[in-house]
Homo-oligomer: 214 residues x 3
């Protein structure tokens, strides 16, 4: 038995982290795609919220598995705290998309909003960038592509700040006589932007992992 098969038999779990990250990233992408579709068609009913809740629950389970592996494994493919943070932040993305979807139902927002539909598309692009970056960590030959995806997500976050500001300016101008609508939409517009902030957090973690491995 050579060294390679020796380590293989002792360290199979180190490879699981990558599979779990792939799975977590896929769930995030599915949530972002469904959210973008939902904001386009705008039929946020109990069924849609339930579907999103189900994705959030799947994400929780993957996070739990990551923590479980971390507690049982001494050798990890990169720093324990980076694995922990990555799992936490991927989970946050899915949680926030669910929370926003649920809030639209709770606030009884019934009409589609062009701004929100466009923003949901930016979220979808950013989450796909996040997935590309996270999945690429598996092999250092992907690192150039990983860093390009990270840069793209950073760019989308900068764009999203500007979009949210413009949406808020428009909101206060349009709904001045209707403070209740201002209250609802302001919260929604601010929350969708924080999804981008969390995407940026993820790619910062990914970038620092790449730097440390180099």
């Amino acid at each position: 038995m050579g060294w390679s098969s020796f380590t293989k038999s002792f360290l199979p779990q180190t490879f699981d982290f990558f599979n779990l990250f792939d799975k977590h990233a896929d769930i995030a992408v599915e949530a972002a795609e469904q959210f973008a579709q939902l904001m386009k068609d705008f039929n946020v009913d109990a069924k849609e919220v339930h579907t999103m809740k189900d994705l959030e629950h799947q994400g929780d389970q993957v996070s739990f598995q990551v923590m479980d592996q971390l507690n049982k494994t001494f050798i990890t493919p990169f720093d324990r705290e980076d694995i922990h943070a990555l799992s936490k932040k991927l989970d946050d993305i899915i949680d926030m998309i669910y929370t926003i979807t649920n809030r639209l139902r709770v606030y009884n927002v019934l009409t589609t909003d062009r701004n929100l539909a466009e923003f949901a598309r930016v979220i979808e692009m950013a989450v796909k960038g996040v997935a590309l970056a996270v999945k690429g960590l598996r092999d250092s030959k992907n690192y150039k592509e990983v860093l390009r995806a990270c840069a793209e997500v950073n760019g989308l976050e900068t764009l999203s700040d500007k979009m949210r500001d413009d949406m808020l300016v428009e909101l206060f101008a349009k709904y001045a006589p209707d403070p209740i609508s201002v209250i609802k939409w302001k919260e929604i517009y601010q929350e969708v932007e924080t999804v981008l902030d969390v995407c940026e957090d993820v790619v910062h973690i990914v970038e620092s992992i790449v730097v440390k491995q180099a």
Copy 2:
């Protein structure tokens, strides 16, 4: 001198962490009980806010003692970062209960609210579950009971999400012509729910400590 008395003389401080956690948990329970009583009677005046501030201050002091012990001790009963996080989150619970109480006074909310009174009871139950879980960490023979308390707190957090959503739906329906009241109550309803989120954070830390010790 046997091994047992040897370690006792060298490691007395490791036992202090448990005493400090007990103390911190007791202060959190007292804050939650007072808050539930306050939301039932609804006489939030300067005196009540002051009492709550005093509990918050007591909590700060325990946190400070935990940090001080951590800085001086090499051997800890479980991971340093778990001790740090546990202390921080117990403190957050008390801080938030104080903040909400103070906000009710600042917002000059004078009438009792049945929803808030019920929610305060859920907070009280959750904080008592948190206390049971945290205090049980002292001895592995309690772990089964600890995990049951954790599960209960998780269940209360799920319930509280639903309660807050229902409260918000009711709020927007009831106060549509009174945006100022919507502004105040929306913030209060959202903040009480975050107390449950922090309780959930605590039991997640407790669960992971139990897993790692097993």
Copy 3:
């Protein structure tokens, strides 16, 4: 070659952390000074927001350099997590001052507000205290002065809580018939106070570094 020059040649990078912290603290002070001046004169236009954005960007670059040093250095002047947290929180101060400035423009707040002008002065004092504390870490003979600066920042945070509460009471009394103004100012008043919370976080980290070095 004596031991001193030996370590000097091997550990030059450990000294860089202090230079980077000095730089970061200076940027934070500049942001706080500009903010205080801006709130006094109250001419928040695109140019002013741009200047603040530039400071925020400079802060990001220092943070990046700190992270880069951390990834490349084994020996650090104090705990890695403290360096990381200190850099993150100094960055948060600058980010928040930029965010508030930008929000005033987005919300089209055109008139000066005496309360906000006074609060900006408290922020300026607190950030200067933070800078004193952070810069003093370089040499243990400063520690007495460092701890005095920390105590001052803690005192300003307590004051700022009271100021914000008073400002909110006044706001709800004054703008009761104008919910849109309540929405805007409530958010601004609450955000300026969180700058003080972050200043307090910084001095808590500084205090714990001093304790551990002692």
